[in-house]
């Protein structure tokens, strides 16, 4: 067991995603209570008090983001649930959408109430079909039951929700880029300032939160900030959904209480490395810790993993992060050069092309690693990769460029010998093996 549960506190059945089942679990009670007894600002205060951090990758305090919005300023505000889950290795939001979509919807209603939002959106990645169907059905159920629309549950609060399906662009997971997508333009990330809570969707104050972050809110309102604080660690309260994949015996989505032992999680809860092979490395939080942060993404070697607990502050001090909660386990015998090739190909493919360093740098790095893998590597290539990666770091509009850079620098820092071997011998130290 991976500690106390907040989102996975029910048994999955054929109907557990339905409104009836959700209500039987106490669903929508927090909404009814809040509408009856709380002012919008009190809801926000509860979230501030809970210490909830964003679960999309940046781990920014959710309450503090919300405080950027004045619910009574008389202008339209928007809330967007970011379900554009495209970070390789990450599939946790999909779990929420498929198995308990009403948790998200109730949480969004509470959030909209707190933020003075009349129209909210779920931006769900274009490829997700079953998760979308489940979500869409839940939305219709919620509308039919009067949870959305005019004068919800007899209150003054009215709210509409639009499920916006993406169309295949990783960069839309970046919150400001997703705004462009909803506005019907190319999804280019936007420069800050202005912050989105100042000028976001349709130029109005906007909050974009990750699905998992938002979904936690119903629980916090139902049980109180204090109860939430009791879960997890002092600085990282609550739980995280960890989606684990790669060379692991039992891949899947796990809810892990923050502060839980990593070694225990890997070796006991997830059954250890596939086929009992030795552990080589772990990518802890999505290959780029989601587009937003990048900086925190780092490959951890087997030795580094053993003593760590799963929480934001420990991982940050280890030079990495929980990021998007997309953990990829890599067994000994895997060719890290080929793995980096896949990552760099991905960033090159997904670069939106707007700003110079990422547009040119991701392609440049991709072509260099392709050449190395083709057996045509040159001695200066590694230095060059580090140079390109270094100037993708912090120079771009969004984190995609950073992330591409970190992927390269982290791999080169930890597994430089493999790259040198590949260049010198024109072949992989591990026969190009990925499996």
């Amino acid at each position: 067991m991976t500690g106390r549960k907040i989102l996975m506190d029910f048994e999955i059945t054929a109907t557990s995603h339905s409104l009836d089942d959700y209500r039987a679990r106490g669903g929508y009670e927090a909404l009814a209570k809040a509408l009856r007894t709380m002012k919008p600002r009190e809801v926000t205060q509860e979230i501030v008090d809970s210490g909830l951090q964003g679960r999309g990758g940046a781990a920014f305090p959710a309450g503090r983001k919300w405080q950027g919005i004045d619910p009574d300023d008389g202008q339209p505000h928007y809330l967007i649930a970011n379900a554009d889950e495209g970070e390789p290795g990450t599939f946790k939001d999909r779990w929420v959408l498929e198995y308990t979509p009403h948790t998200l919807l109730e949480s969004m209603l509470l959030s909209c109430y707190a933020l003075g939002v009349r129209h909210c959106f779920v931006y769900i990645r274009g490829e997700y079909d079953v998760p979308w169907r489940r979500l869409d059905a839940a939305v219709e159920e919620a509308y039919a039951a009067g949870y959305f629309g005019e004068n919800i549950l007899g209150s003054d609060f009215s709210c509409d929700l639009f499920v916006f399906r993406g169309a295949g662009a990783y960069v839309c997971g970046e919150a400001s880029s997703l705004l462009g997508s909803i506005e019907g333009t190319r999804a280019f990330p936007r420069n800050r300032p202005p912050r989105m809570t100042v000028r976001g969707l349709y130029q109005a104050p906007t909050v974009v939160n990750n699905v998992e972050t938002l979904s936690t809110i119903a629980w916090i309102l139902r049980n109180g900030a204090k109860a939430f604080r009791e879960v997890g660690t002092e600085k990282s309260p609550g739980t995280r959904l960890i989606s684990i994949s790669g060379h692991i015996a039992r891949p899947g989505v796990y809810e892990v209480e923050l502060g839980y032992s990593w070694a225990r999680f890997l070796h006991e809860d997830c059954g250890g490395v596939l086929d009992g092979r030795p552990l080589k490395a772990v990518i802890p939080g999505g290959i780029s810790s989601q587009v937003l942060t990048g900086k925190d993404a780092k490959v951890l070697t087997a030795g580094e993993v053993e003593g760590l607990t799963l929480d934001h502050e420990k991982l940050r001090s280890a030079g990495s992060s929980l990021g998007s909660g997309g953990m990829i386990v890599i067994a000994e015998g895997t060719c890290m050069v080929r793995l980096l090739q896949i990552m760099l190909r991905f960033y090159h493919h997904e670069s939106c092309g707007q700003c110079t360093p990422c547009r040119e740098g991701t392609g440049w790095m991709h072509r260099i690693i392709d050449r190395i893998v083709a057996g045509d590597g040159r001695s200066e290539d590694l230095e060059r990769l580090n140079y390109i990666a270094g100037f993708n770091d912090g120079t771009t509009i969004c984190g995609l460029g950073d992330a591409a850079g970190y992927a390269a620098t982290a791999m080169l820092a930890n597994f430089r010998d493999e790259f040198e071997y590949f260049i010198e011998h024109r072949r992989s130290k591990f026969a190009g093996n990925l499996e």
Binding site: N191, P193, S351, G353, P357, R359, T395
Partner: protein, 481 residues
């Protein structure tokens, strides 16, 4: 008053809101590709980086001013990042300056020498893309040279509003493209994208391979195409680069026209008609004075003109709306008392031409109607049947509409059939041969300078008018200089 420190020096920010604007306004140059004062901020080139002390390196175009902030435009981290950005930009750029029209006035070329100066870091093959993509009859696009700054796209979206251009695809295969089925021929302001392109990606087809820009120099002038009176630069060969094999006229030919930035009139833009001034100004010229179609010396023609004036009882003048402020005043001073004067429209909107819009183009296709009307009133021309003499100054009058038997004194610049039908025809100079001013429809006065020698056999109107009015005296000395 907000003040910030740039490189340790205090500067006042004035009306400006970003570090880039303040720096440029105070003489601290920060290189930039995508930023343009008339376009939205996109911050995509990442070259305009500065270091804000204590906050690290960031782009100046989107860095808001805060009182007392300290900014460095040339610190080591700034230099390193600028250099890296130029390496990135040049990665797939063909560096074909040797055959690129933009060379010599290319921001990329200038910045390379100023801020990078090192050979490419990559020796791998460059990505190839479309060359010579026609955007219109007037403009070609070289996608290999394009650095995707999106200035041209934003221009068609935000300024000309033709919405012709966009960015298609993504990543390093993103391309500037026109909407399918459309071209920049739909945009009467399209050629401005050539000017604002910081590199050699957008090129004028009429200027393509015509001249190296460093052989040219601009003369400030005013576009006579409409009553807006946009200030322009007429580019022609520098005297020191004169080609010995060509005559004076060819050596002083106007090779291209660009806007002369002018916040009171046209900002940094002009319309395509302004770009086509050479076509208007290169029309065959009248260089021979005529009496009823027969060639005569200029002195003889002036004498004949004065005689017509003396002998006529009822005289009407149709004054040119292409005359300069100086010429119009000279006309009034010398001849105003002799004539009932009316300002006429020398040019009417041509077929297919944009008549009027809300950016620059005015329905009055003449540059100086305003100054003429200030002197001679706004009444429409009325020529009584018993008029003895009509003085026609400039184009636009159909002699067939004049009263039968009236004497015609015609002052014109172009080789036209009417010249021979006038009783006296005197050829006069054009705008590029003399100095002067136009007053635009809003009353803004702009100056133009000569850049071509006055043709033989042609007289300046300003010189001519006093000679025509001189009582009984000789007209000698009024000929072409």
């Amino acid at each position: 008053m907000t003040a910030i420190f740039i490189n340790g020096q205090p500067v006042e920010t004035g009306e400006h809101t970003t570090v880039l604007q303040v720096a440029l306004a105070n003489g601290f140059y920060i290189p930039h590709f995508c930023w343009h004062p008339e376009l939205s901020i996109v911050g995509n080139c990442r070259v305009c980086v500065v270091e804000q002390e204590g906050r690290g390196v960031g782009i100046a175009c989107n860095m808001p001013i805060s009182d007392g902030m300290r900014v460095l435009t040339d610190s080591e981290p700034v230099r390193a990042q600028r250099k890296a950005m130029l390496q990135f930009i040049l990665l797939n750029h063909p560096v074909d300056c040797g055959i690129c029209d933009k060379a010599g006035e290319c921001a990329l070329q200038d910045y390379h020498y100023a801020y990078n100066g090192e050979p490419a870091l990559s020796s791998d093959p460059k990505l190839h893309s479309t060359k010579f993509f026609p955007l219109s009859e007037r403009i070609i696009l070289d996608n290999e040279r394009c650095i995707l700054c999106s200035r041209c796209v934003r221009f068609t979206r935000e300024v000309s509003k033709s919405n012709v251009l966009g960015l298609e695809h993504r990543g390093d295969h993103m391309l500037v493209r026109p909407a399918e089925g459309r071209t920049l021929d739909d945009d009467p302001y399209s050629d401005n994208v050539i000017d604002i392109c910081p590199v050699g990606a957008l090129l004028s087809r009429s200027f393509l391979y015509q001249s190296r820009v460093w052989y040219l120099e601009p003369t400030p002038s005013v576009c006579p195409g409409c009553a807006r009176g946009c200030t322009v630069q007429l580019w022609h060969r520098k005297p020191e680069w004169r080609l010995k094999g060509l005559d004076e006229r060819h050596n002083t030919r106007i090779q291209r026209v660009t806007p002369l930035e002018n916040p009171r009139v046209n900002g940094p833009w002009i319309c395509n008609k302004g770009r086509d001034l050479p076509t208007l100004l290169d029309r065959p010229r009248a260089e021979q004075a005529l009496l009823k179609g027969a060639p005569v010396a200029m002195t003889q023609a002036i004498e004949a003109g004065r005689t017509l004036l003396d002998q006529a009882g009822k005289r009407v003048a149709l004054v040119s709306s292409w005359g300069s402020n100086e010429e119009l005043r000279a006309f009034r001073n010398s001849l105003g008392d002799y004539f009932s004067c009316f300002v006429k429209a020398d040019h009417q909107p041509a077929e297919g031409e944009v008549v009027e819009d809300d950016l620059l183009i005015r329905a009055d296709k003449n540059p100086n109607t305003r100054a003429g009307q200030d002197l001679f009133g706004t009444a429409a021309a009325a020529i009584p049947e018993d008029t003895d003499l009509v003085l026609v100054w400039g184009e636009g009058v159909d002699f067939g509409t004049l009263p039968r038997g009236v004497k015609i004194l015609f002052l014109g610049s172009w080789l036209l059939p009417e010249n021979g039908h006038a009783d006296v025809f005197i050829p006069i100079s054009i705008q590029t041969e003399r100095r002067g001013h136009y007053t635009n429809f809003e009353g803004v006065v702009s100056a133009f300078e000569p850049c071509q020698p006055r043709r033989d056999g042609v007289i300046d109107a300003e010189t001519l008018f006093p000679l025509l009015s001189a009582p009984g005296g000789s007209a000698s000395g009024g000929g072409a200089a």
